[in-house]
Symmetry: C2
Subunit: 121 residues, 2 copies
């Protein structure tokens, strides 16, 4: 499958696909003429890259996750798992705060209990 087709199917721009290859994240095969040649497996992985990016993983981490042979993989994944779990709590707090500030009428956050609670982390 050619890069343009993959870009259309995944919604990932051509130059981004090339960038991800440069970073070793998803590396397609090549045709005799040197054109990138993607399989369905590559497409699967591309979608996983986007999903991982949405939760804040860097390309370097994603590369690690996608390549079972890389050193330190387990540690990195466990670190990210921990981070993902913490993030849920962060998000709950942030949701409460954002909901609150929409209607908060205090001029000083330090005098508003809800705002102070969020500041206290």
């Amino acid at each position: 499958m050619k890069i343009g087709v993959v870009a259309a199917r995944t919604g990932v721009a051509v130059h981004v696909l090339r960038h991800w290859e440069d970073e070793g994240v998803v590396v397609p095969d090549r045709t005799a003429a040197g054109h990138r040649d993607y399989t369905e497996e590559h497409v699967s992985r591309l979608r996983i890259v986007r999903s991982c990016q949405r939760v804040g993983l860097s390309l370097a981490s994603i590369r690690l996750i996608l390549h079972r042979d890389e050193a330190g993989r387990t540690e990195v994944i466990e670190r990210h798992l921990q981070h993902v779990r913490n993030q849920k709590n962060e998000l709950d707090a942030a949701e409460a705060f954002l909901t609150h500030v929409l209607t908060c009428r205090h001029d000083l956050m330090s005098r508003c209990d809800s705002c102070s609670a969020y500041a206290a982390g």
Copy 2:
């Protein structure tokens, strides 16, 4: 309160505090000599900045959230609220995926139901 004291209290480096001021996020008062002078209210806001950053908000967005008079504030906050809610689902999916890949033995993700499910996500 001087910038060095604030840095020590909040764990935010001095140069970062100056950067946040440049970006209009938390702007301290000044002493007669031109030194930055922070109040407890500023410190509260600094902590809120860090919390917001942890859920991925940009300094520009945080500035908006902290300044009730800025135009488009409500819309931006509601957009972020929506994003925060979506993020929780993303995190659940990511947690399941990361937990899975730790022990997944398939060479091809496209042939692994769990991996494919995440790619489809």
